[in-house]
């Protein structure tokens, strides 16, 4: 099929419209953070950087950012350990129920967050008598982060095969040495990619967090959500939103440097 010039142009135009659909709202968020007006008005009549200065000093935002980072890092570490162990088991061993593992790990992320959220809240507070807080947030986040680490690690393990490990063992290295010097270095970039995705998922999560965070914990998405409908906080919310849009370039830049195993970076 030779694609005619007019068809090419039409497709290019549709791609352009699609990209505009994606990028116009994000651009609006960034411009809006410099909008001098306290209440929403478009187009901005005057631009200012004073909201940025105010946002940096805002203690609520700082506190929320701190909780987001702590929860994200903890969930990522747990997801890395559990996801990698599971990927090893699935790729290197035969066992009963192996086929359903991929379904099991994808479940927490495919079921609606509100269902996972109330299920965990019910289990923590009613069944186990725990109070919600950082620990419950981390448990909730780690549960749906396992899948991204698992997918990345599994893809890498399958591609690696077992010959390198066998060679190492034949040359007299024990299991621990082989893991440390052969397997782990070969998996490093896949684990970094998986860890990055896990942190990203946790950092952005709001629904499960709503049900697992106690009154003392407010992550950044929770802070945004709680301040979204407060008119006097709007300028600060705008700056936080613009920052998050600008920060989304960082992981893309990093992942261009790491080679990832699938088109979505193994996100699902």
């Amino acid at each position: 099929m030779t694609i005619s010039k007019s068809a090419r142009l039409a497709l290019a135009a549709l791609l352009g419209i699609g990209l505009a659909f994606i990028y116009v709202p994000l651009t609006v968020v960034i411009i809006n953070s410099f909008n001098a007006s306290r209440t929403f008005s478009w187009p901005p009549t005057e631009l200012t950087t004073k909201w940025w200065a105010k946002a940096i000093e805002n203690t609520g935002v700082r506190e929320a950012l701190k909780w987001s980072i702590i929860a994200g890092l903890s969930a990522t570490v747990i997801a890395l350990l559990l996801g990698t162990a599971l990927a090893f088991a699935v790729s290197r061993y035969e066992f009963f129920g192996r086929e359903v593992i991929s379904l099991l790990v994808v479940l927490p992320i495919s079921l609606p967050g509100v269902v996972t959220g109330i299920a965990l809240n019910n289990a923590f507070t009613k069944q186990l008598g725990m109070s919600t807080g950082l620990i419950t947030v981390v448990i909730g986040h780690a549960t749906f982060c396992i899948v991204v680490v698992y997918n990345n690690a599994l893809a890498r393990l399958r591609r690696m095969g077992t010959s390198l490990q066998e060679a190492s063992m034949d040359l007299g290295a024990n299991g621990i040495t082989t893991f440390r010097l052969v397997t782990l270095p070969n998996m490093a970039s896949a684990l970094v990619a998986g860890g990055l995705l896990a942190f990203g998922l946790s950092f952005d999560e709001i629904v499960v967090t709503t049900f697992t965070a106690g009154p003392g914990i407010q992550t950044l998405p929770l802070w945004i959500y709680n301040n979204l409908f407060r008119p006097n906080q709007a300028p600060i919310v705008n700056v936080v939103a613009a920052t998050l849009v600008l920060l989304s370039i960082v992981p893309i830049y990093l992942s261009q440097r790491l080679s990832s195993d699938s088109s979505t970076g193994g996100r699902f």
Partner: protein, 286 residues
């Protein structure tokens, strides 16, 4: 010590497997599935209207209420309609974009385009819906300002806004599997079809569409299922409109058994979807 552990582990593969599986299985099966099962069992319990406590007597009362009350039936149908509309809209937007990326763009451009599609996935979910609030604001929103001159008016907050917002959120999840599927599709198949006299549209319908169907199913898994359980988008840009997730959320603190009953709907639909997706082999297309 460590050496001994390594040796024992090496000699006993069953023990190694056990060590690898214990923690993740405890976490996912006992903790996660256990919590899920405990919640869903509540769907068959009732609540004491006087004390507000859950009464653990097995019955189908909640399901009868859910299916007989027109209000809940409407919410279910509306949610399914919205999820379906989002999937259709994403498919229509994504196919030409993915086709251009995979078959027309030069390799260098291709890389940039993929990065452009991936970037918004990392931008915060909440920020994206917030962005649409400023876009759709009736009267002084960005959409009215941008498209007003050509006679377009913002639909305001409500059903159409939810469909636009959710499509915006999940569009990359449709583009990426389609792009991967189209990249794998050999170009000479399209050449052959053209040489045999087929028009572009005919080639698309008879050659391309059947071959990228698994990718389409993979993409729709996100657009459909992620829309099904959403309640934040409806809260922020849906006006007074409610989706299933909103009903679950509202019932959670006052009537957990009924919240669990409503939750069985998206869970059942999702289970059917995952099972179907497994059968088409689309899980391998993600």
């Amino acid at each position: 010590m460590l050496q001994e552990v390594a040796n024992t582990m090496h000699k006993r593969p069953k023990l190694r497997l056990f060590a690898l599986l214990t923690a993740p299985i405890l976490w996912l099966v006992v903790a996660y599935l256990g919590a899920l099962a405990t919640l869903l069992i509540n769907a068959f319990f009732t609540i004491d209207s006087f004390t507000g406590n859950v009464v653990q007597t097995f019955n189908f009362g909640n399901f009868q209420d859910m299916f007989s009350d027109a209000a809940y039936k409407n919410v279910v149908l509306r949610t399914l309609g919205i999820a379906g509309a989002v999937t259709v809209l994403c498919t229509i937007l994504a196919i030409p974009m993915a086709f251009y990326m995979a078959k027309i763009a030069k390799p260098e451009t291709q890389k940039i385009l993929v990065a452009l599609i991936l970037t918004p996935l990392w931008a915060s979910y909440l920020v994206k819906i917030y962005a649409w609030r400023t876009m759709l604001e009736p009267g002084n929103g960005v959409l009215d300002w941008l498209l007003g001159p050509i006679g377009f008016k913002s639909p305001g907050f409500g059903g159409p806004a939810i469909i636009i917002g959710l499509s915006y959120l999940w569009l990359p999840y449709m583009i990426l599997p389609l792009y991967a599927g189209l990249s794998r599709l050999p170009s000479n198949l399209l050449d052959a079809s053209g040489d045999l006299g087929a028009h572009n549209w005919y080639t698309f319908r008879r050659i391309i569409l059947p071959l990228i169907f698994p990718s389409l199913v993979a993409g729709s898994m996100f657009t459909f299922s992620l829309s099904l359980g959403d309640y934040i988008t409806a809260t922020i840009i849906g006006g007074k409109l409610q989706m299933l997730g909103n009903v679950v959320y509202q019932n959670f603190s006052i009537n957990l058994p009924f919240a669990a009953t409503i939750a069985t709907i998206p869970v059942t639909i999702m289970a059917i979807y995952l099972w179907m997706v497994r059968r088409t082999g689309a899980l391998a297309n993600l």
